[in-house]
Symmetry: C2
Subunit: 310 residues, 2 copies
């Protein structure tokens, strides 16, 4: 058990929506930036926690893609929050599961006494990188941001009970944005394939990969941690695609204790997990003492699972 | 003390050089990629450690800028090393000091027993993002990559003794590459200022910021950790610029126990610290039992300091 507690949370969801049949997707307005959304979620999390940005001693940015190549997104968000703070600011990136990786890191740092008050934020603007020629990704993504403030808890039974993460690199190219950094810099854009700078998913191949590796990954996690399905109040999975439901069925995760809002919210990239967790907290669906499992797959192919006692 | 040991290290330095007066800078050939260089350094580190890529259970990518926006660079490097491994792969980014941040994280994870064998790699291709109109950055950067393999040590006295990290966001825009991700995507390149997609340094302003904040940062670190200058065999600082020497003088770091190779190697961005550490290990300048201090400043403005007993 790595003692910690979510003392505040906040989200930003754009007002603008588009619909594809029954599916609703959220898209930020042209005059709103990725950084606006991230900073907005952080401000709400800090307000809810009653913590000022100057009290933070660590800010972890956990987005799939950053605001700019240099500096890291955490430094740019910290600048929005305070010019006088003393936090360390860095980014952690495992694409769509970055929040879970960052929360795991934060729990280690808090448990070790390396930090006292940690802000973790996630969020992407996937809809600015959509390829209209590829319906499966074009109709899937939403923009959103979410943040949490973490501290050690006075209750020794609250915190990260167990976690696991693994990457299967044979599936590294099933979900990509190839262009924008060293492989295909913006400077080459005019001579390159414009599709290289947009989301490119091979959803069927990615799904087959997940179907192959996830059952053993989850079975190993439950065996090693001793956490049974009956111990879990709620599963908060990354909202990867419409295949989420069948995947959760295959993993034996009960329908009444899992969040599947792909139809209503789409895939919010790195924000999916913290956004859905914050929503469950806001609705009182889970609260202090409940064990939640944050989990999901990400481009890589990476899988994360983390059991948190709230 | 977070017990760990560097059991292997490797570097890649391009063959091609350019000279600006007495200054030598290394630049990768047109047919070599960022990923080639990163994977090459990792292969050398694994070979030196006698560890196969399939034995790794964690790979942390610690570059300032990635290979592509999605997936993370660690997943792409892992794919080069093995298609059958079982490592978790994610990136950590604090720009030029990313290696120190990642080594710090790795030491927490090893000490907690979360992982057994960790690969950390750094490296950037700064020279592909140079602006010929800005001499101070155009004449400063070199390309390179470096990697280390870490395990817990049988000797309880080896490992990370202490570390500190802090960001001063008032200086967030002194060193930047603004374009390529959400703020200025490649799609906007034709209508944007091309300089936004290249290194932009305000070296004088950055230096004034560092001069203001670093003395207290280092004094606090030594006071909190109890590590005196006499305890340190070698300081391995980020090779930020020609101002490194005067900065180290100001911090009272003795000339005979510090690495300042800016003239001969330039600023290798995230690779500077691990490259210079690997070189000192190769030369036998430091070895088992010696305490080294890895330190430096990064865009953010971020400073890191970490004391490692080899």
């Amino acid at each position: 058990m790595r003692n910690c507690e979510i003392v505040g949370w906040g989200t930003v969801l754009p007002e603008g929506t588009v619909r594809f049949g029954d599916e609703v997707r959220y898209r930020i307005a042209d005059d709103v930036t990725h950084l606006d959304m991230l900073a907005g979620a952080c401000e709400r999390a800090l307000a809810r926690a009653g913590v000022s940005a100057d009290e933070l001693d660590l800010v972890i940015g956990a987005s799939a893609a950053g605001v700019q190549p240099i500096p890291c997104t955490a430094a740019l968000v910290l600048e929005r929050l305070t010019l006088t703070g003393h936090a360390a600011a860095f980014d952690v990136n495992s694409t769509c599961t970055s929040f879970i990786t960052a929360l795991d890191m934060a729990s280690h740092l808090l448990a070790a006494g390396a930090h006292e008050t940690v802000l973790v934020f996630s969020g992407d603007v996937g809809t600015r990188f959509l390829n209209p020629a590829q319906a499966e990704s074009y109709e899937l993504f939403s923009d959103a941001a979410a943040a949490v403030v973490l501290r050690r808890s006075a209750d020794a039974d609250r915190g990260v009970i167990a976690s696991a993460q693994r990457t299967w690199p044979a599936y590294a190219h099933d979900t990509e944005i190839r262009g924008g950094l060293s492989r295909s810099p913006a400077q080459d854009y005019a001579d390159a394939d414009p599709a290289d700078y947009l989301f490119d998913m091979n959803g069927k191949k990615a799904l087959l990969g997940m179907m192959r590796v996830l059952p053993e990954f989850f079975a190993d996690f439950h065996a090693a941690s001793g956490i049974a399905h009956d111990d879990v109040a709620l599963w908060v999975p990354h909202q990867a695609s419409a295949a989420l439901g069948p995947m959760l069925d295959r993993l034996g995760i009960p329908v009444d204790r899992r969040i599947d809002e792909v139809s209503a919210y789409g895939n919010m990239v790195s924000a999916s997990v913290p956004f859905m967790l914050a929503r469950a907290l806001d609705e009182g669906r889970v609260g202090a003492g409940d064990t939640v499992i944050l989990c999901g797959t990400a481009a890589g192919l990476t899988a994360n699972v983390l059991a948190l006692r709230l």
